[in-house]
Structure formats: C-alpha cells, structure tokens
Symmetry: C2
Subunit: 216 residues, 2 copies
C-alpha cells in the first residue's frame, strides 16, 4: 500500500517559490508581490502568505507593510553562512562517527566512488538542483541522527548555499580537492573517530569557504 499524499496549496506554493529562488528565476533583491504571485499560480493570497512566511529569514526578507524580497547575498553573509555550516556539519560528522551503522558507511563510500568517476568525465557542468556535494553532506547530516541539525541544515543552510552556487563559478581544481577531503572524512568516520571526523569536516568546509570567497 502506498501513502495518499494530499498536499496543501500552501506547501505547493512553498516548493514553487523555493524552486524559483534557488533556480535563479527570482533574482536576489527582487520584490515578490503576494497578489501578483497568487494570480500567477492561480490561487488566493492565503496560501501564498503562508509560504512566504515560512521562508522568512531563510530565502526572503520581510519588511512590515512593504513586502518580501529575495535575500541579498554579500561576501559577509556568505562568510557567516560558512561559519554556521562549519559548526553544524562539524557536529554532524562527530555524531555520525559515533552513531552510524556499518551499512551506511559502506553506502557512503560507494557514493564517493560514483562521484569520483563523475569527475573523470568532467565536461558536464550541467546545472542540477542537488549536487553530488550536497548529497554527500546531507547524508552525513542524516546519519548524525540529530533531527535539529538535519532540519536546520536543510532549511537554513543548503537553500542559501544554492543561491550562491548558482551565481558563482568554482575554482579550477576545487572539485578534485573537495573529493579528496570527502575521502578523508569517510576515513575518519570508518575509524569511528569523532574528533577526527569533526576536524576533517571542519577543515573541508573552511577550505570550501576560502575557495568560494576567493572567487568573489
């Protein structure tokens, strides 16, 4: 038997707006009008309001009586996002090292092997909503068995990161280095070394931060 999904208009609208923002359809700083968006999606303003409120502070900023805008993303905001990421993903790696099952560890390693061969045939710089990198990091967040961290990474960090990724090129050779760092993280996880796993993850994210900031 399969679950019946009766999704609400508000959730639908939420997904659409996230998609529109993280895919670049809505520019950073652009104003989003409730009424206009409601007409565009063919529903009333209620569900739209709900969706936009759920995004407040994450992907849009709101000014009372004025409206909501897609968040702007400067160097400082990006740096701070990486600080938050370092803290949370570092802890996630630590917890994963303590909690993860052997089965999961093997599947994570298999994922890295796939990514490894993807990089070989490296021509394809096609856009994909969820990158290999995000899959790896999110998998570790899940393995931490800490719902708070998992939820916040998903809702706060990764959404914002996609906006940035969309508008900036990556340093040449960064993918290779990142993959090596991923392998180092897996190695620490396999050794069930919480300190090592956390430090490897944090070093990886610091490196990603410096690389991203260097491209601005």
């Amino acid at each position: 038997m399969e679950q019946i999904k009766s999704t609400s208009l508000a959730s639908e609208a939420f997904d659409r707006v996230v998609e529109a923002i993280t895919s670049g359809e809505f520019e950073p700083g652009q104003k989003i009008s409730e009424a206009h968006l409601a007409r565009q999606l063919g529903i009333s303003r209620g569900p739209i309001r709900e969706a936009l409120h759920r995004l407040e502070g994450r992907l849009v900023s709101r000014v009372p009586r004025i409206g909501v805008r897609v968040i702007q993303f400067g160097e400082e905001e990006l740096r701070q996002l990486f600080y938050l990421r370092e803290a949370m993903e570092g802890m996630a790696a630590r917890l994963a090292a303590e909690n993860a099952s052997d089965k999961w560890l093997r599947s994570l390693e298999a994922m890295l092997q796939r990514h490894s061969s993807e990089i070989e045939g490296a021509g394809k710089r096609v856009y994909r909503q969820r990158t290999s990198d995000e899959d790896f990091h999110f998998s570790i967040a899940q393995a931490s068995k800490c719902e708070n961290i998992e939820r916040l990474l998903l809702n706060e960090v990764y959404y914002q990161l996609r906006i940035h990724r969309l508008r900036s090129s990556r340093q040449p050779g960064r993918a290779d280095k990142a993959l090596k760092e991923h392998f180092e993280i897996v190695e620490q996880l396999k050794q069930r070394n919480p300190d090592g796993a956390e430090e490897a993850m944090r070093a990886h994210i610091r490196a990603a931060r410096e690389s991203s900031l260097a491209m601005l």
Copy 2:
C-alpha cells in the same frame, strides 16, 4: 530619531503564544485550536495561523488537517538540543574571541560579577523569563557578529530550552559550577584565544547537558 513601531496582530499573537508556551500556560502535547485561540485573543484566524506557522518545528508541531500541538520534550530531544547548542555556541565563542571589542568584554565581565553576587543571595528562585544564564550566552552570540547564529540560537534553541528549564529542577551546586565555567570562558575571550574560547564554551555546554540529563 526614534523608530515608529507599528506592530501587527500576527506579531502580537506570535509573542503571546511564545509566552504562553515558555511560561507553561500551554502544556507540552496540548492541542492549540486556531479558532479557539482566535476567539480568546479577540482577533480573526488569519494572524493566528501566521503566528503558529512561524513556530512550526520550533515550539509546536503540525499535522496537516489535524492541527498544531505544543512540542513534546523527551530525553533524546533534549540531548539533541544540547548537541546543536554545543556546535553553535562553540562557534559563537570562537567568533567572539576574534571580533569582540574590549568595551564589550568589560561589560560581559561586569555582568558575571552581578551574577556572582546574585548567587550569594541565593534564596530567590523566582521565575524569570530570561535567566542570567541566558543573558550571558545570548550576549556572546551577539558578539559573534554572526546574524545566522544569533537568530537560530534565539529562535530555535533558547525557546526550546526554556520549556525544559520550566519543568525540571537543577542539580544542587550546578549554578556555582556554571558560574565558574562562565568565568573560564570570559578568560579565554580576554586572551583572544579562539580555540580556547570555543573549547571552554563547549565544555560548559557538555557539563550543562550532563547535569540536565541527570535530573530526568
């Protein structure tokens, strides 16, 4: 010049619900009816819906077509909350050690001196919405100059922590130990030692975690 405050009914309702939950007026697990709450506050359901949605995942959990309930708080949830707290506040302390002004450091130390004398006259276990402990920790979050961390600590962590604090007694002598740990954190901040500050903060929160869990 002073800012004109034009607070909306939704924000008002939001504050009221937070107050009701963190003060214990609404029990954990209790269902909150939009219609009932709207009648109670004398406004329509729109602003209420908005307020409850902003609390989703933080202080209330929502089931589609059923309604919202005040979150339940078990041992595991509490442990995970402390993991998140350790990660974020550790990073906050690190950033504070790097960024904070000397003026702020002196005011933080003065705050600790006040807390110190408060504990002397320790009879007053009166309930206060914001405890001395929370003031100390939030001040460091502000000094980190990282808006993400500040916002998430406020909206995600401290609210939930208040629910727990309300319903559990503290270990005898914990206040004294906590104060000593606070002084250690300040010491590391004064020395502008990021590693030391982060580790002191994390050790402090681990100790608070163990103490809290021991009381269940």
